[in-house]
Amino acid sequence: MENEVKLITGAMVTFAFAVALLLIIPYFQIRDIPAPDGLKPYTTAELRGRQSYIANGCHYCHTQQPRDSSFAPDHTRGWGRAAVPADYVYDRPHLLGSMRTGPDLFNIGVRQPSKDWQLGHLYQPRAYVPDSIMPSFPYLFDVKDEAEADETEVRLPPEYQPEGKVVVATPEALDLVKYLQALKRNYPVIPAEPQ
């Protein structure tokens, strides 16, 4: 090649082609999808919890996109029906995820609604799932002599209870659990397009 104008023009044309196909057309195809009746916007506390889900990188090991039964046994595992674009109307940023080092969490609020379980599991996952490789998050909790009146004490299995101390959840942990409890996509939807 001897002409830099041809080089740069060509490079920009192929790039523009990809932008049109992968960004612009899907943008207009998805833009006007309405929120399903059963889906509520996140509350402020849930949004704070969602931020801490993002800040601690939960989405690097947990997806939020159950797949169709013809593709993978996600439904059989209790992870919910196949997700559709309408389920994500309130999600900014998206948290679809790319790894299943741990299970899908799109419907964790349906599957495991217990606040006590969620708090204890964040404090020490191996107290509930012996072979889990999820990190423990002690920094979301305080270990002290006794809980104040307005604090939430975490009820752990006895062998994981620090001796003579109590574990209380920080506000961040409580918000995070509120977000996890809100992950419920068990309302009916019409599939966006035939699969």
Binding site: F15, L23, I54, Y60, P73, V84, T101, S132, I133
Partner: protein, 559 residues
């Protein structure tokens, strides 16, 4: 009209267009080989001469002997060896090298720092996956943050800085004119690195935009974009003011890639524009393009330059490199959707990306045939030249990782491999075994030109190569294997999910072993670099970074 009729009709139309394109290219003489353009990087004296600056006198003699032997074998019959653009290249090259020495050195020094930090974070993250209660007391230590610090430090800090160094150093050489706007390049480098450092700090404290490869908060991204604008301006000014008639292959890749990454990053970080699953399509369009339109093309440009330089022999076919470049530009930009197979996004887009992923075989095979043709009968030169060894390893792994990637995009394979460690292994095959190995080779080639000083301990270069090569092999083999088993376990509804976790543990431990070898290789590499910069160790030549009286050494180093 049914779908069968439509597809038959479009196949017929496509073949008519292809036939027309073929006839046009025959008329334009595009099938006639152009050795002059392929040899644009050589002066008359340099063909058939060894060009590995990492070697001492003894090593250089051995490599030269091996090259001379291959000529004796009569490999080049019927090809004009002496058809060279301009014999005065060497003078230009000394001038350009002087203009790029300091900017290129700055980028390399930053890259070195990020390499150590990034691989330390990577090894830590790897260990954390099988020691989940290790280092959990503070928020910044948690797996989700350390892993992201690793990714940002190696992909942006190491690879991006190093590729910028390569572009800044090589483009003026190929254009045969001094670097224009060196101060702008330095300013750009500073801004970009302020951006990367802030991004890593932000991730540590939990401030992130939350999308893979795009974690950098957009406010910090402004620094990065501003930095890229400065660098793009200077590089384009250099290209426009060039003295060289022909733009060599490496420069196509590098100039295009620099423009692509600037646009990619700007679109990806644009605040408030993206939403819901649309953001997911954008995320993976960006995520794959940062590999395909930034890391890959610059590394390929590096191979197209360094490999012929070391063996003193031009690349086999100029036309194949044209084909490889344009097909890569077209197909690679559209493969991102294969990350969302089975996901809640428009099905047609995913299918399009799968098709283009398969089409990626075209540029990969074009490149590989070209490099194989260039190296044919000369493979054993790798025994004598460490730079060549890095380049050949990288080139071979480009083929391996791209072909693997094409097949991984097929729905049947993706069902198993997606969401598992298999994908992580694949990413490291591309970003490490291919791109990073080429960049290692490039540092070894460039640094003696920048400092006019040779590598003090050539044996460490071999040690670095073998530790890195064995490390990534262990890493890739075990993680691929474990990831595949993990995928099979997840697909089997009869097996509990936890089985897919526990069965990966031995493989995750082996990954840490491989990672530890790679980490050791990097520490040796960076210490060697420091020894060279600080003039520690045996003095092998005697000129300083900014010395004006090093003419004699520069001519030796001019190659």
């Amino acid at each position: 009209m049914g779908p069968a009729t439509v597809s038959l009709l479009s196949a017929f139309l496509l073949s008519l267009i292809a036939l027309a394109a073929f006839m046009w290219s025959m008329r334009k003489g595009l099938f006639v080989e152009n050795p002059r353009a392929a040899g644009a990087i050589f002066t008359e004296d340099e063909l058939d001469k060894a060009g590995d600056p990492t070697l001492d006198a003894e090593g250089r003699k051995k490599l030269q002997q091996a090259i001379t032997d291959t000529i004796g074998a009569g490999l080049d019959k019927g090809r004009s060896q002496r058809d060279i653009e301009d014999p005065e290249q060497l003078e230009d090259r000394i001038e350009t090298d002087r203009s790029t020495a300091f900017p290129a050195f700055t980028f390399i020094a930053f890259a070195m720092m990020w390499l150590v930090l990034g691989s330390t974070a990577g090894l830590t993250a790897s260990l954390k996956l099988h020691w989940p209660d290790w280092m959990v007391s503070e928020a910044w230590m948690t797996f989700g943050r350390i892993r992201t610090i690793h990714l940002t430090a190696v992909l942006y800090g190491w690879i991006t800085n190093m590729e910028l160094a390569l572009i800044v150093w090589l483009i003026p050489r190929l254009m045969r004119t001094h670097l224009r706007g060196a101060l702008w390049v330095m300013l750009g480098g500073t801004l970009v690195n302020i951006g990367f450092a802030s991004a890593i700090g932000a991730i540590g404290i939990g401030w992130t935009d939350g999308m893979e490869y795009l974690e950098t908060p957009w406010q910090v991204g402004i620094f990065v974009v501003a930095g890229f604008v400065c660098i793009v301006g200077a590089i384009l000014a250099t290209v426009i003011n060039r003295k060289a008639h022909e733009i060599y292959v490496s420069a196509w890749y590098m100039v295009a890639a620099l423009l692509w990454i600037s646009l990619l990053f700007t679109i990806g970080k644009f605040p408030g524009l993206h939403f819901g699953v649309e953001q997911a399509t954008m995320n993976w369009w960006y995520g794959h393009n940062v590999l395909g339109l930034w890391f890959t093309p610059v590394a390929l440009g590096g191979i197209y330059y360094f490999l012929p330089k070391v063996i003193g022999h031009r690349v086999m076919s100029y036309n194949l490199s044209l084909l490889g470049f344009w097909t890569l530009a077209f197909f690679y930009a559209q493969v991102g959707g294969h990350h969302l197979i089975g996901g809640p996004v428009p099905e047609w887009m995913v299918t399009l990306s799968i098709v283009q992923s398969m089409m990626m075989i075209v540029p990969v095979v074009a490149f590989s045939i070209n490099m194989y043709g260039t190296m044919r009968g000369r493979m054993k030169l790798a025994l004598y030249s460490p730079t060549l060894r890095f380049m050949m390893f990288g080139g071979a792994m480009y083929f391996a990782s791209s072909v693997q990637g094409s097949f991984e995009a097929l729905r049947s394979v993706n069902r198993v491999a997606h969401f598992t460690h298999f994908t992580v292994a694949h990413a490291h095959l591309g970003a490490y075994a291919f791109v990073t190995m080429v960049l290692f080779g490039a540092v070894y080639f460039i640094m003696p030109r920048i400092l006019n000083w040779e590598w003090p301990f050539p044996k460490l270069i071999s040690l670095h190569f073998w530790l890195a090569a064995i490390g990534i092999t262990i890493y890739f083999v075990f993680l691929t294997w474990g990831g595949w088993l993990q995928g099979l376990a997840m697909l089997d509804p009869a097996r509990p999910f936890m089985e897919s976790v526990t069965l990966t543990l031995p493989y995750l431990k082996w990954r840490s072993v491989g990672g530890a070898l790679m980490w050791t290789a990097h520490v040796i590499f960076v210490l060697h670099f420091l020894a060279m910069v600080l003039r520690f160790g045996p003095a092998r030549t005697g000129a300083a970074l900014f010395s004006q009286q090093s003419r004699a050494m520069e001519v030796i180093h001019g190659k």
